[in-house]
């Protein structure tokens, strides 16, 4: 039953879903990987963005157009959240530790309550020309929505990577991750830089959220499912590496897909998270960090 063809297609689907995992983790890769903020609310932001996409979709906007529209408000939202976090914790010097995590849990609660009060508990979907149709290549059919995800994921990864390595602002963000003091010497304000970076991270989460509702239906408490997955990808990648995040997402997607096809879907989570534990135990700096 495990024909070569089937296995090949399992890998293809794994790569596509992996792109999705990467796309929704990129924001966290910046916020947690580069800025060292324990951003537990990232998954909640994804779901929030998914609902905003749904809201704009109900006025007839395509989810991708909606994604572009919500990027800017989410950027400012992120800036605000970071400012709040900074004033409450980082400014006081000490590492926020447990309290930082609790703070973001609180934010995640608020997002969840807001969504269930505003939109109710029914699951929501969007419609678009590329949802429900597929590209036929011989006997193989690939859903267009996953192809859209693939394109967005690659564009987002490349865009962020270029931004972080080529622009002054981007380099400053990477520098602040390593040495805030040194950054101050070259004349950039580390706090403003981190604030800007967290805005970018939240904007990336906005795009990730739009992909979330393109790929599958959403409900207010969906963030619980994605907390583990997104952190898993970011840690596998090695903190703060954009291309590493993409590769880690692909690895997770392909492993899940292969386990599913060969051993049964119910074991897929154990294998994926087993891999994460292994990486944490042996190579805590992640797979793709020097």
């Amino acid at each position: 039953m495990f024909s070569f063809e089937l296995l090949f297609e399992a890998v293809v689907f794994g790569l596509l879903v992996g792109c999705f995992y990467a796309a929704i983790s990129l924001g966290l890769s910046i916020a947690f990987g580069l800025l060292d903020v324990p951003h537990i609310a990232h998954a909640a932001f994804l779901v929030l963005a998914a609902y905003m996409t749904f809201l704009l979709g109900s006025y007839g906007l395509d989810p991708l157009v909606a994604a572009v529209l919500i990027v800017i408000p989410f950027f400012f939202f992120g800036v605000l959240v970071y400012r709040f976090y900074y004033e409450a914790f980082e400014k006081r010097g000490a590492d926020a530790g447990v309290r930082g995590i609790a703070f973001f849990f609180g934010i995640a609660f608020l997002v969840q309550v807001f969504l269930s009060m505003k939109f109710g508990l029914d699951q929501r979907t969007v419609s678009a020309p590329y949802i429900g149709r597929s590209l036929e290549l011989g006997d193989m059919r690939i859903p267009w929505r996953l192809i859209v995800v693939l394109c967005v994921a690659i564009a987002l990864t490349v865009g962020l990577k270029l931004y972080l390595s080529k622009t002054f602002q981007g380099r400053a963000i990477r520098a602040v991750a390593q040495d805030a003091w040194a950054l101050r010497i070259v004349g950039a304000n580390p706090v403003l830089t981190k604030q800007w970076a967290f805005g970018i991270a939240t904007a990336a989460a906005a795009i990730g959220g739009a992909l979330l509702i393109i790929v599958s239906p959403v409900e207010p408490s969906l963030d619980r499912v994605y907390i583990g997955r997104t952190f898993c990808v970011v840690v596998l990648a090695g903190l703060g590496s954009m291309s590493g995040t993409l590769v880690a997402g692909l690895i997770l997607g392909v492993i899940e897909s292969l386990v599913l096809t060969m051993f049964g879907a119910s074991w897929a989570p154990a294998v994926a998270y087993g891999l994460l534990l292994l990486v944490l135990a042996i190579r805590p700096q992640g797979l793709f960090r020097q």
Partner: protein, 418 residues
């Protein structure tokens, strides 16, 4: 219980749903009859829970408008159990010990209801089940009367496999969620398929956090089955139907569906639209002429008017009539026996057939419906984005059981081509 203090009364009004007091009626000095229950008002099962809540509230208003029960006002006391088995035992103790409710309806859903069975049995409480599966199979409580149109797995998906048999199916594929209900049904479905002589060519249980079903549907297509049995929960049901539209399940498939929870929900039916065409799935009620039970049309019309204010779906076919009927069962038994004693009422229910909104009901020895009637419907001619179309006949054609049948199976692939 002749004198009810104002505080207790307000307590009931505030905490429970509080039936509206009609100003023109003068109630006797006796305290109201309280009907206690719990349902998920938050969490994943909440959409059905909130519909049940509204339906029960409507029942209480209707009864009070008719002059109450035994001349006393009725009142619903309902709490949120979040669909969790760790919440429901405490809630039922509260209902019985603190609120001193007179009558009980079990929690909505199998898991929270299973957790209160020992309590009900130890305390000898009459319990009307509300949409649950095989809750009494282990507890064997003789005062349990389930109000769900099924008893065992056979009654649930038997129709699906009978349809398969008559369509000449030989090979079957199974796809089911790794969760409580879906796995129970899957076990039943597999033994039914075996006894029908079908060959199982694919079997997959997927975890609830599964994001995308493309690879599974692809594998099903590769296995070339004649029918596909799916046991899924709302979020997965949508994703599976979508993946089937994208990937396809192969030209041989004559039947697709079976036990997909969620395809009865208005929001999901509306968002899937034409992608549903051809799917054959279980449900509890559809507006076909064979199911025009007395009173149901009127109830659903009123429900549709009340639904927006309660923030629930306006169709309300799947759960709401059964919630109303559960209360009706209690009402009929109380009126006939003029008693609130649980053993008296249970005795009456054992011996008599009760006519309700969802048809006449009689119970077997295990407390399940003696004549289960899960209907297998096929979605036909569904357009995109239109919710009101589901109120018309012919959109969800009943294929099984025979007594409600309104059409013949059109093979899945053929039905989709139309």
């Amino acid at each position: 219980m002749t004198n009810v203090s104002k505080r207790t009364f307000l307590h009931g009004m505030g905490l429970g749903l509080g039936a509206l007091v009609l100003p023109q009626r003068v109630w006797s000095q006796e305290s109201p009859i309280k009907v206690g229950t719990s349902m998920a008002l938050s969490g994943p099962l909440a959409s059905g829970g909130r519909q049940s809540q509204l339906a029960l509230q409507m029942w209480a208003e209707d009864v009070n408008a008719r002059g109450g029960l035994l001349g006393r006002k009725v009142e619903i006391v309902a709490y949120d159990d979040q669909g969790s088995p760790s919440q429901s035992p405490g809630i039922f103790s509260k209902l019985v010990d603190l609120d001193k409710v007179d009558l009980l309806i079990a929690p909505y859903g199998t898991v929270p209801a299973a957790a209160i069975m020992p309590f009900a049995k130890e305390r000898r409480l009459l319990m009307i089940g509300h949409i649950g599966y095989q809750i009494n199979s282990k507890a064997k409580h003789d005062m349990w009367f389930n109000n769900s149109p099924w008893s065992d797995a056979e009654s649930w998906v038997g129709g699906f496999f009978r349809l398969g048999k008559s369509a000449g199916v030989k090979k079957v594929a199974f796809l089911a969620s790794d969760q409580e209900f879906a796995q129970n049904i899957l076990a039943g479905a597999k033994s039914l398929a075996k006894s029908a002589g079908f060959e199982s060519v694919y079997e997959q249980s997927y975890p609830p956090s599964t994001v995308d079903f493309s690879a599974m549907i692809r594998a099903i297509r590769a296995a070339a089955p004649d029918m596909v049995f799916v046991g899924s929960y709302p979020a997965d049901s949508t994703a599976i139907i979508r993946a089937v539209n994208e990937i396809g399940v192969g030209p041989n498939v004559k039947l697709f569906g079976g036990a997909m929870v969620g395809l009865q929900y208005a929001s999901i039916m509306q968002s899937l639209g034409s992608q549903l065409n051809g799917v054959v799935n279980y449900t509890t009620y559809v507006p076909e002429k064979t199911m025009a039970f007395p009173g149901i049309k009127d109830f659903l019309d009123r429900f549709a008017k009340r639904a927006p204010a309660a923030n629930v779906e306006t169709l309300g076919y799947y759960v709401a009539p059964f919630a109303y009927a559960s209360a009706q069962i209690l009402e009929r038994a109380v009126t006939a026996t003029k008693s609130l004693k649980h053993d008296v009422l249970a005795d009456y229910l054992r011996k008599n057939e009760i006519s309700t909104l969802v048809g006449p009901i009689r119970w077997g020895a295990d407390g399940e419906w003696a004549n289960p009637r899960v209907v297998m419907v096929q979605f036909r001619d569904i357009k995109d984005g239109d919710l009101e179309q589901f109120r018309q006949e012919g959109k969800q054609v009943i294929l099984e059981p025979q007594q409600f049948k309104t059409g013949n199976l059109i093979p899945f692939q053929q039905a989709r081509r139309k």
